[in-house]
């Protein structure tokens, strides 16, 4: 695709005749949860289309589960029921591609079902996220501002604690639990770094590369998305085993990729001293990649974009 002028200038002209593709990667996702999410997405799509923001809104699912979670009959009933969604596409990957590669595949197409898309807009969303009726509208309104590359919705009931500017919405990175962006920008920065990140923190890296390319990443609190996360009875944030492992792995990879060699050493030392299985495995995997020359090339040597602060990747308003 040839871009005639700087993308930041072209984005000043909103393309209301474009299609918005809302894409999610599935893994063992229950159809009931998807149906509830689609029901609300359908309403939000109607609102956005009626507000003249998009010509159409469609859904694309990429399924990395061992066996397909959706059958043709279910998909057909949803297509008939959710009239404000112009299409609900579904591709079964046949293997667990993870989040980063799964989303890249949905954008660029799959060998079994080419879904390559053109000049539209896209949302990256967790499949069970339930958007408010005006979420797509409010994301799009913010995205219309020239220079903004990525807009993140506010999650409920547990709002992400990272800081954002009250007026401009600028933030250090955006969680891809629910974000909207221009597909051309996705292509410009090369999509997600699927070779480095499998699951978790692929969105941190995506946001930082977007900012290195000159785009702003913003948080839009009036675009609300319900993400059914819960607290333990003692009020703690509950994490899964996968989250703990992949987050640990990503901590090392991010520190390396964003030119923090001393931080890499500190993290490795901490992981080894911890004696915790997840952390030891993450350290081992990092060393394996390093020995095999599989680590990404470092970026942000001037430390302009990446933030490593108290174990977080942005200043936080509070700690969960």
């Amino acid at each position: 695709m040839v871009i005639q002028a700087p993308l930041s200038e072209r984005a000043a002209c909103w393309r209301p005749d474009s299609v918005l593709t809302v894409q999610s990667v599935l893994y063992g996702t229950l159809p009931d949860g998807l149906e509830k999410a689609l029901e609300n997405l359908d309403l939000s799509a109607r609102e956005a289309i009626e507000n003249g923001l998009f010509k159409a809104v469609k859904v694309a699912y990429g399924d990395g589960s061992p066996t397909p979670v959706l059958d043709d009959a279910t998909l057909e009933s949803w297509r008939n029921r959710f009239k404000n969604l112009s299409a609900i596409d579904y591709v079964f990957f046949g293997k667990n591609l993870g989040s980063a590669r799964g989303h890249n595949t949905l954008v660029t197409g799959h060998h079994q079902a080419p879904l390559a898309r053109g000049d539209g807009f896209m949302m990256v969303m967790n499949p069970d996220v339930i958007v408010a009726y005006d979420a797509l509208t409010n994301l799009a309104i913010r995205l219309k501002t020239p220079g903004i590359g990525l807009v993140e919705a506010r999650q409920m009931p547990i709002e992400h604690p990272k800081d954002y500017d009250r007026r401009s919405g600028d933030t250090v990175w955006a969680s891809t639990a629910c974000v909207m962006l221009d597909e051309r920008v996705f292509h410009q920065i090369g999509g997600f770094d699927a070779d480095t990140f499998f699951l978790y923190c692929d969105d941190v890296d995506f946001s930082w590369r977007m900012r290195l390319a000159g785009w702003r990443v913003v948080f839009e609190p009036s675009a609300v998305a319900f993400h059914d996360k819960r607290l333990s009875p003692n009020g703690a944030w509950m994490t899964s085993a996968a989250e703990r492992y992949y987050s640990a792995e990503a901590a090392l990879l991010l520190a390396h990729k964003y030119s923090r060699p001393e931080l890499v050493k500190d993290i490795l030392r901490y992981f080894r001293d911890s004696k915790q299985d997840d952390l030891l495995r993450a350290a081992k995997e990092f060393e394996r990649r390093r020995a095999a020359g599989l680590l990404p090339l470092p970026l942000d040597g001037d430390h302009k974009v990446a933030v490593f602060e108290g174990g977080e990747y942005a200043p936080h308003r509070f700690r969960l």
């Binding site: 509830k36 408010a132 609190p221 059914d228």
Partner: protein, 652 residues
């Protein structure tokens, strides 16, 4: 139309020229004699002459012995009388006498339709307090008086009977029980109202409906059309939960958020009743738009009620009245719930039938900021704070409220059968008042699951900021006084707790008596405040405050509860404290302990979000008590709606 006496009811009957007054059963005469009322015209009685009260009653033209229980024959007899002599009225004043009264009444209704002859129907009240108590205790006996039959109907079932057979009341008269209890009854602890049991039963019964002492229900009826009633067991058709949400339509962004959290519930077995309170046209449009924007599966289970009068309690009563759910919960339009809020209530209900259901609520500081499309939006300003206990403690709640309103679901019977209502006179704490009255009846089952968020707004109004401290205090006093005057039930274990409190109180009184001798000379002016505190609170003020004060006076450690409280709140910022007060950092002392022991008395602040000096200036009663301002706010101030303010440098 409600009439006040049988005489008044009789006066409303048609003139004698239209025919005879036909009394079936013979009870009319007894009532006429007792009330002093007179009927113009002749009375024909269909009954066994043995039921006559006197050998001769001037107004009675004749007695006819009939087989009153052969309905077909009885109707035929009535028709003959009507044809030959005309009917001015018909009366049946003990409908409970007939096993098949419905058949008889339907026949009479059909017979009466073309004319204007009224039918006076009466029944004894099965749910009269003394009758109901005796039934409860298994000592009910059938009436000994001849011609008096055992009651079968309550007010509710009597009205339902009339509706079902198509007889519509034009006049209503409820006659109170005449005569005192028998001697045996007056000595019975369950019937005498000056015993705890008797007082409790009377209180519950009086609350359920106004007919605890009514002996007889009498209705003057005319034929009409029946209105449909739900057949079968209504309970089978009910959703598990009714969610009653108050709104004034002034916080559309918050209303959108809470509607989204309801649309996302993992358990859909609930209905939503949105009560718009004093809502103007513009606000109504906003509410309508937001409700229309909910997904179909929620919209189909949503109703809107407009309430234009009353206090904050009024829309709650309206919502609870309209609720069809087995349980009823409240949700304000600026609260949030987790995805398993309904599910957790449902799980609790399966194992704790009949009790109130409680979940855990966390608090979160939240601010309001401008939104991109206009209006405003919420921004979380702090972490989730565990301010409310995991389990419901009755004693704790008697002192102040520790349960936000959306953390409780009530069994519907509390409102619909036992007659509890939110008190319209209360403009604040109406939920605490209702909760305590209900909890003392049905107890509370607690789940440790955190399923709700109470948003504490730092820069917008909520019910706590809308009303001044004076009103909060007045309401609190009123609520406590009413509870104190009520007979209450004690759950198993509560007596033991009371015994512990009494023993603790006696022990502390002994300690403080000995300390009051030693303190002035031994400790000096640095602890003069604690001495004043002690003398103020002796002998019957908060046991925990006394304990902590005594420990401090003796040089013991600070309350572990206070330490935990400060360690878990965002209002205490240890890093900020140490960087702001380098002398504390140099000393190596734990910042929480320093603040509790020295910092607060010295006027130091715990963090940038809480201005302790300002708090004490705004709340002089707190300053006088000597309590640490931050622990006061966390333990009491939040529940009392006291305002806080961040440090000036922190405000942007």
């Amino acid at each position: 139309m409600v009439v006040q006496s049988f005489k008044e009811l009789i006066c409303g009957l048609p003139a004698a020229s239209s025919g005879v007054h036909l009394d079936i059963g013979g009870d009319l005469i007894r009532l006429l004699l007792n009330s002093g009322a007179t009927l113009s015209g002749n009375v024909v009685v269909l009954a066994d002459p043995a039921t006559r009260t006197r050998p001769e009653e001037p107004c009675v033209s004749e007695w006819q012995t009939e087989n009153l229980f052969d309905v077909a024959h009885l109707l035929e007899t009535i028709q003959k009388i009507s044809s030959s002599r005309g009917l001015a009225s018909i009366s049946i004043l003990q409908v409970e006498r007939w096993p098949d009264i419905e058949h008889l009444l339907r026949g009479l209704r059909d017979f009466l339709i073309p004319g204007t002859c009224p039918i006076i129907l009466g029944t004894r009240n099965l749910a009269r307090r003394d009758v109901a108590v005796k039934l409860l205790l298994g000592c009910h006996e059938p009436p000994l008086e001849p011609g008096v039959y055992a009651p079968r109907f309550t007010r509710r079932t009597f009205d339902a009977l009339l509706n079902d057979v198509g007889l519509l009341p034009s006049q209503e008269l409820d006659i109170l029980k005449s005569g005192a209890l028998t001697r045996d009854e007056s000595l019975h602890p369950a019937l005498a109202t000056n015993t705890p049991l008797g007082a409790l039963l009377a209180s519950l019964r009086n609350q359920a409906d106004p007919h605890a002492e009514t002996e007889l229900f009498i209705r003057t009826c005319f034929p009409g059309t029946t209105s449909a009633r739900v057949s079968g067991k209504a309970g089978d058709l009910r959703p598990f939960l009714s969610v009653v949400m108050r709104t004034q339509g002034q916080r559309p962004d918050c209303l959108r958020d809470v509607l989204l959290s309801l649309a996302a519930q993992s358990d859909d077995d609930f209905e939503l009743i949105v009560t718009g309170h004093r809502v103007g046209d513009e606000e109504k449009r906003v509410i309508d738009k937001l409700l229309a924007a909910t997904p179909t599966r929620l919209r189909e289970r949503t109703r809107y009620l407009q309430v234009n009068t009353g206090s904050r309690a009024t829309p709650l009563n309206a919502g609870f009245e309209a609720a069809r759910g087995q349980y009823i919960a409240m949700l304000d339009d600026d609260d949030l719930v987790f995805g398993h809020w309904v599910e957790t209530f449902h799980d609790l209900a399966r194992t704790h039938a009949g009790q109130m259901l409680r979940v855990v609520c966390v608090a979160q500081s939240t601010e309001q900021i401008p939104a991109v499309a206009g209006g405003s939006v919420a921004r979380a300003a702090g972490t989730f704070e565990r301010r409310y206990s995991e389990r419901f403690d009755m004693f704790q709640h008697l002192a102040s409220n520790h349960t936000p309103c959306m953390a409780i679901a009530y069994p519907r019977a509390i409102f619909h059968d036992l007659g509890l209502r939110f008190d319209d006179r209360l403009h604040t704490t109406e939920d605490w008042d209702f909760m305590m009255r209900a909890a003392l009846i049905c107890g509370v089952a607690s789940s440790p699951e955190i399923t709700a968020i109470y948003r504490i707004w730092s820069n917008r109004t909520n019910s706590q900021t809308l009303h001044d401290q004076e009103l909060w205090k007045t309401n609190e006093v009123f609520i406590k006084k009413r509870l104190d005057l009520s007979p209450v039930l004690l759950e198993p274990g509560m007596l033991g707790k009371i015994r512990e409190l009494v023993q603790d109180s006696e022990q502390l009184a002994a300690i403080t008596r000995s300390l009051s001798v030693r303190v002035p000379g031994a400790i000096g002016t640095a602890h003069a405040r604690e001495v004043t505190l002690l003398s103020r609170f002796l002998p019957d003020r908060g046991i925990r405050i006394l304990r902590d004060t005594v420990r401090r006076l003796r040089g013991n450690r600070i309350s572990a509860d206070d330490v935990r409280l400060l360690e878990n709140t965002q209002l205490f910022d240890a890093d900020w404290y140490l960087s702001t007060y380098p002398d504390v950092a140099e000393s190596g002392m734990d910042p929480v302990l320093h603040y509790l022991r020295h910092g607060a008395p010295e006027g130091r602040n715990p963090g940038p979000l809480f201005n302790g000096t300002w708090y004490l200036e705004q709340h002089p009663d707190v300053a006088r008590s000597g309590i640490n301002p931050l622990t006061h706010y966390l333990k009491h101030g939040i529940g009392e709606g006291r305002r806080i303010k961040p440090l000036e440098a922190h405000v942007e």
